[in-house]
């Protein structure tokens, strides 16, 4: 069992934020996201699964298309476009996933890297989960509402 060092929060109704401090230089962390050989080492499914990379063009406007193939045959495909590449500070890409039963909407992932004494503070922001129309209608976080309702319903 891997120790969990990730802090998670939902800063708004359509976003998820995760943070972790890694004992490695920002340059190394940045390369882990932008070089296929590096990505394969931590993104691939464990226990006999693998990462099938069909496209990975890490330039501005370049596309990626890779599939996590699990040992039981399940396949999760991820496709997107690199929107900002600013080594070793920031990486922004669109993100859409497809598990062969359902397809997500186009979401946006931003990776921010800040040097710290120990290494790098990585902040991942995953947003645009909903359609634009839905998001614009929102006055307050649905995430907190759902959690609140869940507590009330359970209680």
């Amino acid at each position: 069992m891997t120790e969990n060092r990730v802090m998670c929060e939902s800063p708004s109704d359509s976003a998820l934020k995760a943070q972790i401090e890694i004992k490695a230089a920002p340059e190394k962390v940045f390369a882990a996201w932008t070089a296929v050989a590096e990505l394969d080492k931590w993104f691939a499914p464990r226990n006999g699964g693998f990462l099938q990379v069909d496209e990975f063009d890490c330039v501005l406007g370049g596309k990626f298309d890779y599939t996590m193939v699990f040992s039981d045959g399940d396949r999760y495909r991820h496709v997107g476009t690199f929107e900002e590449i600013n080594p070793p500070h920031r990486l922004v890409f669109t993100w859409k996933w497809d598990d062969s039963k359902t397809v997500s909407n186009d979401t946006l992932v931003t990776i921010d890297l800040e040097p710290t004494e120990a290494g790098t503070l990585l902040t991942l922001t995953h947003e645009r989960f909903l359609t634009t129309a839905d998001r614009d209608q929102h006055q307050e976080g649905w995430g907190s509402l759902i959690l609140r309702l869940d507590v009330l319903l359970a209680g």
Binding site: N4, C8, W42, M68, T102, D134, H138, L145, L149, L152
Partner: protein, 109 residues
């Protein structure tokens, strides 16, 4: 990575995007109620309540049933689970990946 029905979630989030509808959902958590009972504390007219209830019913968050001359509404709590599950699956996905990234870069894996 995440198994969910896009359209279903759009409807749920759309339904919850309105404060009056959120209040209706909260009112129903204690059990079923008639349209009149729901509208009174919120200060919404019966036609107004009906309009909101139709959106909630379409999303599957509530069901309604006509008994005699009254329409009863009931919260379908299971529907909230799918929205919550979807968000928590994304959270679990990134938590797992980022922990592995850290372990990889720190030479622990």
């Amino acid at each position: 990575m995440v198994n969910y029905q896009d359209e279903e979630l759009d409807r749920i989030f759309g339904a919850l995007a309105d404060p009056s509808r959120r209040n209706l959902v909260l009112s129903l958590r204690s059990g079923e109620a008639t349209v009149e009972q729901l509208g009174r504390p919120l200060g919404i007219s019966t036609p107004g309540v009906m309009k909101h209830l139709a959106v909630l019913e379409k999303s599957g968050l509530i069901t309604t049933e006509k008994r005699g001359r009254q329409r009863f509404c009931r919260l379908e709590a299971d529907r909230l689970d799918s929205a919550e599950r979807w968000m928590s699956e994304v959270r679990v996905f990134w938590t797992d990946r980022l922990n592995r990234l850290a372990n990889h870069l720190e030479g622990l894996e």
